[in-house]
Point group: C2
Chain length 692, copies 2
């Protein structure tokens, strides 16, 4: 059996090498195209520069943050240094740093390629849809391959070097720390710029979305990259690592650490990456084909390949259980179903978006009320989907033996996340073509080109809803398995302290209930703090835009260029300033509950956090998408079209939805993972030092 | 000990008699005043007529609904009739009917007195603040006394006649059914009218809030009565009965039904009513005093009296435990604290309201975003308060013996609800003075009178925030004890089936988790359905108002009266039509989860429902109050005052907040209770017939 595991370590590295090689090929493929249009080259350069500025600042602050956390880990985790085991502490601190660094590298390169592709996509839209689609898609695919490659590389290396799954949680925590900065910080950045640009541009000045006179326009395009490319990549890196890490922690705790289960986790992860490579390689669109269909069908292809490959592996390798294959397949299929139902609530060819557009005709209050209501309803199918997949995975795997039930749930999460390489490629495609659309407009490429860019952009928006639902679903299953990992950690600590183990977390116990109530409030407060952060930051930027229009002569007429840099500065520094209190709040609440109520309360805390977090994340992502597409639906001519009262109301809905869907909603995932990992890592401390 | 219980039965009836006598006195006191102003008399008559119309329709539909439910109970509950025990089934069906009828009577008389007081309050505002305050307050107090009196009367009578606490759950379910109609139906009615009146009046036509030319104006005033008087009364009747019933169910299950505990529940309940009688009798305001202070101080007086009286009772009666007194006191004090923190988020002299007003200057999107964010944050203190009071009550009472811990939580709920008579009086005061303000305007009573009426009205709004926080907190604790009651019922059913009892509900069990996820989604969907109901209904009424202004000649100039009746009809029939699907959805989801996952899933379902329900209820009530008061704050001159852009934005916020705070938010309480009672009542069925 030991041999089998070495085999999978080797195969993992091989797959990572294939993925990286393919990414390099795609990068070179994108780069070979040269930009002709001076104006586009210049603006694309500004966007690249702005994104680099933000990433540099973010990573600088993150480096200090990570250094402090690494020192704390070194002293306290997995157990206080004065109790011995210094090697473990050093390993964990290093694993933590590796987690941040690998994620950072993936993000940095992803941004590099995305900002390389946007201008090229814009120009080739001048020639053909087919070519432009491939440039956008392959630019995004580099990010997808890097994220999954780096995560598999990290997990394999950490486990091979230390042989200790608890250290993996440290690696995972590193990934989460970065995701918190990248997703929430990037989310605040992008919406600050977007909201401020819309408010001053479209509403006050009546100039088009991507008009170069607007000082916030470059910041807005930068935001697409830092929020949607780097942020989303870091988020899914985080989920992917957390799913693998918790599956491995649970696998190791099973009947004394049966290596078959560990092998199985690696086998499924590497096959997922391989499936994504094939899916990416085969994706293309016909000359006048439909880019939405191309993106979706490549997702389905990847799904099918994964199911087949894992079935073959299960048949070939002795000791791989078909029940676990079943659990993983259920997870993947439910993920796809969640994506499709999300689409129902946010696609403008379906009734919900049209109803909200219709309500807008009665005024903005009705836009908000109906969008909020449908947003709440949209959470139901996904909640049921996650609940059912957990139940089915559990029941499927329970007969294998003690502890396999919860392992089954963690493998459902691994299954759901298996095609994440493909999901990220689709997702990163969005901001690239969104940028391309802006560049086509700013570069004056003519109506037909803008129409093609628009078509590519709209495909990006549609697919985004699906991938978002998918990633929230995956996060849901992952955190359930993190709850299982937490219990393993607590029991390990209790065992070594010679105290009775805990069997579970009983709702009727008031210490558990205490944790549940507070855990449930945390995502609400966290998202509120991010929303207020966007508000405050956008206010600052609006003030700056007003200042520029009032003081820079000739700006209004387009004779002089605005000071784009100031707006980027405001977005970047404000984003990081607003993010830190929210992140600290979540971590401090966890520690407070843990030290007051002990591990029992933390079990409850995590549950409350997961349940209300998922509900709010689904609500915010979906209602935001719904408002965005309602606005587009009205702009396409419904309910009086552009300039009508319905349009004004729909724009207000879209502005409310922006921080919901791109800042608060998706950041909740990261908040849940961070809190889960802090809990698992501090399990031994809570066991030793809690009040109750 | 048996004697002690008889003594408390007797004392309960005596206290009820005192409360009813006092209510009759207050009624006569209000009625002795005669209305002089013809115009006010006429409009007050229209409001009374409209309210009667709605109540009549509501009760008619409710009667058919209750008849169906009573037949189902007769056949199936507490166990299927073919298994014997027909007497129990008949008792439970009768208890159910009694629950609906007693609550209906309290609501009907409450409305009667409220619609009697409003005109009189308006007229006496012409003379003095002191007199007007007393008329408004005492008119509301009749409702408070009736609700608590009827609930104590019903609980005592049912238990005395049947000796079976399970039958009490049937009575409590009756109260919940009515509350569902009264609170959610009334909530839809009132906001339909309010939103439609505001949208057409203030926004489109630019006429003042209570202008008699607006066809919706009478419906709006009727709405205040049916939503805030009858609805809120039914809601607190429901919570009050549920708290007492679950405490009694748990008390009976304790060590073979120690009668001391049952006596203690009655003793505390009747002392609560007595304290409210004293608090109401002593409430008054100085000649130029502050009505807000008068209302709040009467709450504090009642609280203090209750704490002293229960301490004396605990000292006097042998077998009453000080620990339980402690639990009940903690509940009450936490209730008061929750009320005070709620006030912080919704009072316009405090920073939050002012911040939202300031954000409005940047446009309506910022009003919505900041209000939403602060609404989410405002949930935190109350969630912590409920968690802490449950924890403290549990830890206090655990040492008494097995099962006392959860009894302690139920007594904390009884304690929190002890002063509910006073709370309802304060709450019913609100719509009376709100109506009075409208009548003063429509009756042309002059600026000074309107100023006094405004002052009374604003006190009503401030106090409302406190009482709402209080009633959500109370509902929170009540449903925890309902969870305890559910477990008692399940174990009784398991015992009689000869199956092993359940010890609790483990989060890590996937059947429990399955229930949690779905239970958490239900309040979101329920409130969404109510909000959409208000939207649809308001759209219908706006169309009707437009029709009237377009077809009735001379209406715009005030020469002809509008057709008030049509608007009342639309609000009433629409409200009941929109409410039923939402109520059925909640009940059917409960049954589906119960029959799929069995009692374990229902345990999780209730937990998820409670946690997300409390979070959403607090969020919606508080953000709604916040927007309402921000608008008033702007109207008082801040951020440019009336007519400014900030004002327009604040009005949009208020319109969004209306259904949040007066329809969806407070109805969630009722939804939670209904679902909890359906679960407890169906416990035996779930045990017998579930799939897993």
């Amino acid at each position: 059996m030991e041999d089998n595991l070495s085999l999978f370590y080797g195969l993992s590295f091989l797959t990572v090498a294939i993925a990286f090689a393919f990414a390099v090929y795609l990068y070179l493929w994108v780069r070979r195209e040269k930009i002709q249009n001076r104006r586009i080259e210049e603006i694309a350069g500004l966007i690249k520069e702005g994104a680099d500025t933000f990433i540099r600042r973010e990573y600088k602050i993150l480096a200090s943050f990570a250094a402090v956390v690494a020192v704390i880990i070194l002293i306290l985790l997995p157990q206080p240094i004065w109790k011995g085991g210094i090697i473990s502490n050093i390993s964990m601190a290093l694993a933590y740093i590796a987690g941040t660094v690998l994620s950072a590298i993936a993000g940095k390169i992803g941004i590099l390629v995305a900002t390389l592709s946007n201008g090229r996509t814009a120009e080739s839209a001048d020639k053909s849809l087919r070519e432009a689609f491939l440039l956008g898609f392959r630019g995004g695919a580099v990010m997808g391959l890097l994220v999954v490659g780096c995560s598999l590389l990290g997990v394999t290396a950490v486990l091979m070097l230390t042989g200790d799954t608890t250290i993996l949680l440290g690696f995972s925590f590193g990934a989460s720390s970065l995701a918190l900065f990248a997703k929430a910080g990037g989310g605040i950045f992008t919406k600050t710029a977007d909201v401020a640009a819309d408010l001053t541009g479209k509403v006050e000045l009546g100039i088009p979305e991507d008009d170069p006179r607007n000082p916030a326009v470059i910041a807005d395009n930068v935001g697409d990259n830092v929020g949607d490319v780097a942020g989303m990549g870091a988020d899914l890196f985080d989920s992917n690592v957390a799913a693998a890490a918790s599956a491995l922690v649970i696998a190791q705790s099973l009947s004394g650490g049966d290596l078959n289960n560990i092998s199985m986790v690696f086998c499924y992860s590497l096959l997922g990456l391989l499936s994504s490579v094939i899916g990416i390689a085969t994706a293309r669109v016909g000359k006048n084909g439909n880019p939405t269909r191309a993106l979706n069908s490549s997702t389905y292809v990847t799904t099918a390949i994964f199911l087949v490959l894992t079935a073959i592996a299960t048949a070939v390798f002795e000791g791989f259980s078909w029940r676990i294959w079943g659990a993983s397949s259920v997870g993947l299929l439910v993920g796809v179903i969640i994506g499709i139902t999300t689409d129902y609530f946010t696609d403008d060819t379906k009734p919900i978006v049209q109803k909200v557009a219709h309500a807008s005709a009665s005024g903005p209050a009705f836009t908000i009320l109906s969008g909020t209501a449908y947003g709440f309803i949209s959470a139901l199918p996904a909640m049921i989907g996650i609940a059912v997949s957990a139940l089915v995975a559990y029941k499927l795997c329970q007969p294998i033996g003690d502890g396999y039930a919860i392992f089954g749930i963690s493998m459902a999460a691994v299954g759901m996340l298996s095609i994440v390489g493909m999901i990220i490629s689709n997702d990163a495609y969005g901001p690239i073509v969104d940028n391309a659309r802006g560049l086509a407009e700013m570069g004056g490429l003519g109506e037909e080109t803008i129409r093609i860019a628009d078509e590519l952009d709209s495909a990006g928006n549609t697919v985004k809803a699906v991938t978002k639902g998918f990633s929230i679903g995956a996060a849901g299953l992952t955190v359930i398995s993190l709850l299982g990992a937490f219990m393993s950690e607590v029991n390990a600590a209790l065992e070594s302290a010679g105290r009775p183990l805990i069997e579970g977390f009983d709702i009727m116990s008031p210490t558990v209930f205490f944790g549940i109530m507070i855990g449930a409030a945390v995502p609400a407060v966290f998202s509120a703090m991010l929303i207020l952060g966007v508000d405050r930051n956008a206010e600052r930027m609006v003030a700056e835009i007003h200042r520029q229009f009032n003081t820079i002569e000739g700006l209004r007429e387009g004779r002089v260029k605005p000071d784009y840099g100031r707006c980027i500065d405001i977005a970047a520094s404000g984003a990081l300033r607003e993010l830190i209190p929210a992140g600290l709040m979540a971590i401090l609440m966890t520690l407070a509950v843990g030290f007051i109520g002990g591990p029992e309360s933390i079990g409850g805390f995590l549950l409350g956090n997961i349940v209300s977090g998922l509900l709010l994340a689904l609500f915010m992502s979906n209602s935001g998408g719904l408002w965005d597409n309602s606005k587009k639906y009205v702009e396409a001519g419904a309910e009086g079209g552009k300039g009508s009262e319905a349009h004004k109301a729909a724009v207000i809905g879209d502005t409310v939805g922006d921080p919901y869907k791109d800042t608060a909603g998706p950041s909740i995932n990261t908040q849940i993972t961070v809190v889960s990992l802090v809990s698992s890592l501090s399990a031994a401390l809570f066991v030793a030092f809690s009040i109750f």
